[in-house]
Symmetry: C2
Subunit: 354 residues, 2 copies
DNA sequence: TTGTAAGCGTTATCAC
DNA sequence: GTGATAACGCTTACAA
């Protein structure tokens, strides 16, 4: 019961299968496959050329889906981010993509918007599409039911040979590219201290986000270490946005008298900057402001922001490298990347008091 | 020659196939398929429940690759952008993703970096992965060999039932979401004119990019229409970056005396802003500057930038809707989206001269 | 309403 | 060095 044996060598517009190539080359499908897949199985040079010629003539493209079905390797990777329109994640995705392109892997991208349900949906969808690896670019959410489900799913995935890479603090274990958020914040606090600041405020992010907690820990740890007098009144929280930063800044302004404010991320710092601007408070003359991340906007804000550069592109690239290694069953250590302080104009050097 | 009939109902950690579900439910694979795929083929309520129960117990996830192989629908879409770390594309991708998520489509993302070879590679890879549709988010490149190859590939793709969506000026035809770049620039010129400006400069982008040409055409058309005196000396070109904009601004400064400068995009405008700032030229008091796109940075620049908002998220969303319609063989008209001018602080109203 | 079996486009096993 | 042919996990005639 053949379908269209006759149409064998029709050089039309439809997509051709290995069978067409084989027929045109006058060889078996098996042989054609061996040539096209770069198999190690021997094929005579003459035959190889015939096949290549036929494939070329038909513009043959092997169907990766079919190949995936039999090899159990889809050559696809799923990456989960919080928001793909955020350049932070955009850079990571770019690094990942550049890293896996060479080995001919493709990237599925999903933006969860920090919605636990959506996040689980996307991971499930990745599974359905048989991705070889999943990259969690963002930190995990702190929803209990979500955590449990995700962990169970991850276990099945890795047990089945799937690779998990995390590029952030995450409840899931897997190959990890590691930017030490706690240490980064501590370092920024020490930097401010070095510039003479003693009364320092902190704008923290939403407490249901792991990063928020970690970064906050970095602040309190450094404050304690340096013997700074920071109580709860020195800390205000808001969303990881400019608006959130502005509001938090407003709170702090009402509560305490400070010489410097550190924000949990640049967006919040920019919001703080704008708030101070509209309140007529000069930066850095009356109050210093520092951020964290060095997003593109940081440079162009009302006052060029002093912040710490998180090497996002590199994180993506290292993640890709780790992922590829894991896929090859090579083991590799977690990678630790470090940021560096980018000094711009938002922090003043002052005479230390007390 | 059965493989592991015995392991039928093993509730382990490996991934299960329809066969396992069928065996656990005590039905045939066909019946299980009919339930899981939501087929219209009748299945008794009792059987359906048994199957659902079994699937649930095994956490069964249908293998989309296998399904795609037989239905010739992969439920994947590829999107090609110039740079995924650019929020312009990030927003589009987000809109696309949100739009196709509901219908359970997944998104492959590829960043071509405007490299013709890379772009073709990615498109070929999309084909190999049997995407149902390809979205060209960025304008096409103007390389002749590239154009020819791409056109041939596109023809084969659409002939085979593939859907092409373009979200920008593109050599390829397909469902189109349309932002009239020429008109947008013209409108900005008219806006500057309304604010009293007569001596207007233009910072244009690289001439090997279609958008550059189209936007430039918008400038010259409006200038002519308004009887403005703009010769070649009023136009400087540079890359679509802040650095490029700064350099182009420098050129203009050396050549002509202007009251306003329009940049082909916001990044260039910001570059111009910075250049003017360091040259001690006040914006908007001494010179007005306007951009185009309304990227996130626009608001936070040295001077909040007056520009035109390109509804990127909406473009993505409409693109998704068009794509879904085409996939359903419904026909739909191209969608025309419009931008609106966002007035900030970089443009002054002046007394028209001459 | 259910089941049997062919087939999607590959690769892999086994003969020759 | 080459070729049949059985998978991979699913859908879909066609039968029953």
């Amino acid at each position: 019961m053949t379908r269209d044996t006759d149409s064998a060598v029709k050089k039309g517009t439809e997509s051709h299968s290995l069978r067409h190539v084989a027929e045109l080359a006058g060889v078996s499908v098996a042989t054609a496959s061996r040539v096209m897949s770069g198999s190690s199985h021997p094929v005579s040079e003459q035959t190889r050329e015939k096949v290549l010629e036929a494939a070329n003539q038909l513009s043959f493209q092997p169907n990766r889906l079919a190949r995936a079905l039999v090899t159990a390797r889809s050559h696809t990777v799923g990456v989960l981010v919080h928001d793909i329109s955020d350049p932070y994640f955009g850079e990571i995705v770019k690094g990942l993509e550049d890293g896996i392109h060479a080995e001919d892997y493709r990237l599925f991208v999903a933006s969860s918007e920090r919605d636990p349900q959506k996040e689980l949906d996307y991971v499930r969808a990745f599974f359905a599409h048989q991705v070889d690896a999943i990259v969690f670019a963002a930190s995990s959410l702190t929803d209990a039911a979500y955590a449990e489900t995700l962990e169970a799913m991850a276990k099945r995935f890795t047990d089945g040979g799937g690779v998990i890479v995390v590029l952030s603090d995450h409840l899931l274990r897997g190959a990890k590219v590691w930017f030490d958020n706690k240490r980064a914040v501590s370092e920024m606090v020490r930097y401010l201290h070095r510039r003479g600041h003693r009364r320092i405020g902190y704008l923290t992010g939403p407490s249901d986000l792991e990063v928020s907690l970690v970064r906050l820990a970095g602040f309190t740890a450094a404050a304690e270490e340096l013997g700074l007098d920071v109580g709860p009144e020195n800390i205000a929280n808001g969303h990881f946005t400019a608006v959130g930063g502005g509001e938090a800044m407003g709170e702090l302004l009402d509560r305490v008298d400070l010489t410097a404010v550190l924000a949990a991320n640049d967006l919040m710092a920019i919001g703080a900057l704008r708030r101070l601007h509209s309140a007529g408070i000069g930066v850095p003359d009356e109050l210093s402001v520092a951020g964290l991340d060095d997003i593109p906007i940081a440079e162009y804000g009302p006052v060029p922001l002093t912040t710490m550069r998180v090497p996002t592109y590199q994180i993506g690239l290292e993640g890709a490298s780790l992922l590829l290694k894991a896929l090859r069953k090579e083991d590799a250590d977690d990678v630790h990347v470090t940021g560096e302080i980018v000094e711009r104009d938002s922090v003043a050097t002052i005479e230390p008091e007390q």
